[in-house]
């Protein structure tokens, strides 16, 4: 079956109040000029992520002892789809180094080696947009002691990043 269609919609609810679970991931990207690499650390809430992966692999549990290889392959696949780096229209493949569980978070480590011609890239972050309408993804990019931050929501989830941040 193929995906029929994509809709961009606003869900208008009376939804932000009191204290309930909130849905935020944080992805830090650091440019290492010496290696010409991007070091990527992505944190998502384990329970939301587990729920999302269960749609792809029924009953899968995210915990340190469970089917490590299957879990890793699912995570890798999910990130390939939802954390996409592109430069000059071609996808920059990342190396999935692995993940750890820290309290209620899953932290995944990815690395991209850049070829010498790249000066900028696009990053698309749609992590867990398929889990909840309220998902927001914070992106922090660092390069040579400078920083730039983005907030990814489904109406705006792709950002252009210069390797050398200018003012």
């Amino acid at each position: 079956m193929r995906i029929i269609s994509l809709f961009f919609l606003t869900l208008i609810t009376i939804s932000c109040f009191a204290l309930h679970k909130f849905y935020v991931s944080t992805t830090s990207i650091k440019y290492i000029p010496e290696d010409r690499s991007l070091q990527i650390t992505a944190q998502v809430f384990t329970d939301d992520f587990e729920f999302t992966l269960q749609k792809r692999s029924s009953g899968i549990k995210l915990n340190p002892d469970n089917k490590v290889e299957l879990v890793d392959s699912l995570i890798k696949k999910y990130f390939k789809k939802n954390l996409v780096f592109k430069s000059k229209d071609s996808i920059l493949q990342f190396d999935y180094l692995g993940k750890i569980y820290r309290n209620d978070l899953l932290v995944a480590y990815l690395e991209i080696l850049l070829d010498s011609t790249i000066t900028n890239f696009d990053v698309k972050n749609t992590l867990l947009f398929d889990f909840t309408d309220d998902q927001k993804n914070i992106l922090h990019f660092r390069s040579r002691g400078r920083r730039k931050s983005f907030l990814s929501v489904s109406s705006r989830h792709t950002f252009e990043v210069e390797l050398n941040i200018s003012d």
Binding site: L6, T10, T13, H20, N103, D130
Partner: protein, 764 residues
């Protein structure tokens, strides 16, 4: 031995030479207004007056209106409707004459044509989603959003009458209703009116509302958590007049204190809890339940089940056609709410506080277990104890934690909380700690804003921020008191409160940030803005800026001053300063009125040496003024390589030192270092620094925030020591929410990042 002070006096003359060397070229500045970060908040805060004093306390003319209610309500479970009638007694304690009253009709936010349904633009909030129509759950979401008939909610007002049964004219504007008074209501007078209404109860799970029901299709029951269910008087006061900001969904409530007498008629097999003291337990409880209810009042170690799980499971099958009326009286509360269902398990125990026994109560369906029986009542107990310690003794008779899916919402003496295990009884780390945290938070709301009754409609942070700060303290205490429940963690995994937890938000894209002093409707990330950031700010005030003793006294003073009253932000800011003698205007200005962040770095560490060499710039000054070495012996400091062995390279200084004999001999510290701190972020913060020496020892120094008052970019300090500095580490305990710690060390640490560590571990 000569003191260093005496010794340095001749040297001081020449220290300008160092400054000449270090000066940086600054751009010429034209005339300007006072932009100093330490400027007082006179322009931001309202002028003190007889209602609210400059000290932050209520003034001699402070007043608040009193509103008493007698309410009869019937819950129609079959039709999911609520019918009500109320008699309101309004006492005008203000000095003003009122020509009309405003009532709040919060249910009207669920009217089919409510403007609140259209308040967001496509794409300007995070509430957007790419629907993937292959996925069943997403099809449901799409359908509920675009294909379903909108819910027919909102109050249906049947009539409004006065004491003599005459109809009163009323006008509804969205979520508010103006009732025109037959005669103007003078200061000190009372007016009685009655209202009759009904409304359709909403499914709160579907559209995430603060009240409504959760359906349980498996057993055909509903679990009702009912609030904002009656027309409530709006607040009239000295700062807003009538509260005229509509209910748009995010800004919560501004409410009056008063006494409530409420009679709740529900199906006879429902178990019910509500704000206030139950007046007719013998009528609504079975003999056995009543016996347990009385026993619980003497149970201090563990809860007593009034209804246990087995009984609740039997009860949820009964579907009685009869009705029962539960009668409650609540004194001096600002609101009333209740929860009702056949499904409830009910437990309670007594907590001694301030010479009284407070009942800690939990009410939950079996679906909440095994989490709820383990943690709910314990969390309630801890909250009552810790909050009472930091504010005032809990004044009400009970505090009830009700389990309701996805909820986290507070009312006087009662609140709704999430925390639902999977169907197989397992639960995630996040669900468990989320549940304990939400219970602490919502029970804690009894103090802020139920008793310290700030205006939530205008200022979300005044209750959420203060409450989240207190929640943090309570969570940490909960972990200490319940070590076996903590999964071997060294401390409670508080989501908010620790300084480093807010960094990701404060370092974020500025176009999505707003100052804390913003209306809750106009903020992107209310959770970080109104809960996390102010809670962190207070934590930093307590630990780093003021110290615990001064902070705790001032915070307690604020809580006691405004207990059962209506404080504003200025009352809080002023009291915290008034009771501590710490000028905090710079702190409020930075943390509450701007979106600035903390970023302080160690710019450089230089070693200085006394020398005969005359720096070029110094020579120019010597020439200009024609000073000679004979008039004033010159002593110069010059920069040396950091590794250079120390020596006194200045003949003049050596000659001066040689003059002292025996006991007067001056001990000159061997090493002089000049450290420069730069401030890249807009927020002012004390500089917390560790000087680590080659001999393995270390000094911790705190420079006050005021160090930044004359130079907001960089400041320097001279360290005179016999030891050799090996490294300088800023904010070594992560106590300041510094958003960039890479510039916090000298020398630039080539330590492995978290990423590198992980990579090296995996041998890639």
């Amino acid at each position: 031995m000569k003191t260093l002070k005496t010794f340095f006096s001749p040297v001081i003359l020449f220290t300008f030479l160092i400054n000449v060397q270090g000066q940086e070229v600054s751009q010429s500045l034209g005339g300007h207004l006072n932009g100093n970060k330490f400027k007082q908040l006179k322009e931001e805060l309202p002028t003190p007056n007889k209602f609210r004093t400059a000290s932050g306390a209520p003034g001699e003319d402070y007043y608040q209106q009193k509103v008493d209610y007698v309410i009869d309500v019937e819950l129609d479970d079959k039709n999911k409707r609520l019918y009500g009638q109320e008699e309101i007694t309004y006492t005008n304690n203000s000095p003003d004459v009122l020509e009309y009253l405003w009532l709040q009709l919060d249910q009207n936010i669920r009217k089919k044509d409510a403007p609140a349904l259209q308040k967001n633009s496509e794409g300007d909030t995070a509430h957007n989603i790419i629907y993937n129509l292959i996925d069943e759950s997403q099809v449901d979401r799409f359908a509920s959003r675009h294909l379903e008939i909108p819910f027919d909610g909102g109050f249906n007002i049947q009539w409004v009458k006065d004491e003599s049964n005459q109809f009163l004219k009323y006008t509804i504007n969205m979520t508010m209703m103006r009732v025109d008074l037959p005669q103007p209501l003078k200061s000190g007078e009372q007016f009685k009116l009655s209202v009759k209404w009904w409304y359709n109860i909403n499914d709160h799970v579907k559209k995430r509302a603060r009240s409504g029901y959760e359906p349980f299709p498996k057993d055909g029951n509903r679990l009702y958590v009912i609030a904002q269910f009656f027309p409530r008087l709006a607040v009239y006061n000295d700062v807003e007049g009538w509260q005229n900001h509509q209910f748009w969904g995010n800004g919560e409530f501004a409410l009056n204190f008063g006494n409530y007498e409420v009679n709740l008629t529900v199906p006879a097999d429902h178990i019910l809890e509500a704000t206030g003291i139950l007046q007719n337990p013998k009528e609504v409880l079975s003999i056995e339940q009543y016996r347990r209810y009385k026993r619980a009042e003497k149970s201090f170690d563990e809860p007593v089940f009034i209804v246990n799980q087995e009984e609740a499971e039997a009860n949820e099958k009964s579907f009685s056609e009869d009705k029962k009326t539960w009668k409650f009286i609540a004194k001096n509360v600002r609101d009333f709410a209740f929860a009702s269902s056949r499904k409830f398990i009910w437990e309670m125990m007594a907590v001694p506080i301030g010479g009284k026994n407070i009942m800690a109560v939990s009410l939950y369906p079996k679906e909440g277990n095994p989490l709820w029986e383990q943690f709910s009542t314990r969390a309630v107990v801890q909250t009552l104890k810790t909050y009472s310690k930091f504010t005032f003794d809990y004044p009400y008779s009970k505090a009830v934690s009700v389990h309701s899916k996805n909820q986290g919402m507070e009312y006087p003496m009662i609140c709704w909380n999430y925390g639902r295990p999977d169907e197989d009884g397992t639960y995630s780390f996040r669900e468990k700690y989320g549940m304990i945290s939400v219970i602490i938070h919502e029970i804690g709301h009894n103090f802020f804003p139920m008793i310290v009754n700030s205006d939530e409609r205008q200022w979300g942070w005044m209750d959420e921020g203060l409450n989240t700060f207190m929640q943090y303290l309570t969570e940490q205490e909960f972990a200490k008191r319940n070590p076996l429940s903590m999964d071997n963690l060294s401390k409670y995994p508080s989501r908010r409160g620790d300084p480093d937890r807010i960094v990701s938000y404060m370092a974020g894209d500025q176009s999505f940030l707003a100052p804390i002093m913003s209306n809750p409707e106009n903020i992107y990330d209310l959770g970080a803005n109104a809960y996390g950031k102010p809670a962190t700010a207070l934590n930093i005030l307590r630990e780093t800026v003021m110290g615990r003793e001064l902070f705790d006294f001032a915070f307690k003073t604020y809580s006691k001053r405004w207990k059962f009253k209506h404080p504003t932000p200025a009352d809080f800011f002023r009291t915290m300063e008034d009771a501590s003698a710490v000028d905090l205007d710079w702190f409020w200005r930075g943390w509450f009125y701007t979106t600035d962040y903390v970023d302080i770095g160690v710019k450089s560490l230089k070693k200085l040496q006394f020398t005969n060499n005359i720096p070029e710039k110094a020579q120019a000054i010597i020439d200009k003024y024609g000073i000679t070495n004979e008039d004033y012996p010159f002593i110069f400091l010059e920069q040396e390589d950091i590794k250079t062995e120390s020596k006194i390279g200045s003949d003049n200084l050596q000659a001066y030192l040689d003059k002292f004999e025996n006991d007067d001999k001056v001990q000159l510290p061997r090493n002089f270092y000049e450290v420069t701190f730069e401030k890249l972020g807009g927020l002012v913060m004390p500089i917390l620094v560790a000087y680590n020496y080659e001999d393995g020892s270390s000094d911790r120094v705190k420079y006050p925030a005021e160090i930044w008052r004359k130079n907001d970019q960089y400041v320097k300090k001279i360290i005179a020591t016999n030891k050799k500095i090996k490294s300088v580490v800023l904010d070594p305990d992560s106590a300041t929410s510094d958003i960039d710690v890479e510039n916090n060390t000298w020398p630039k640490e080539e330590s492995l990042s978290e990423f590198d560590l992980f990579k090296s571990k995996t041998n890639r």
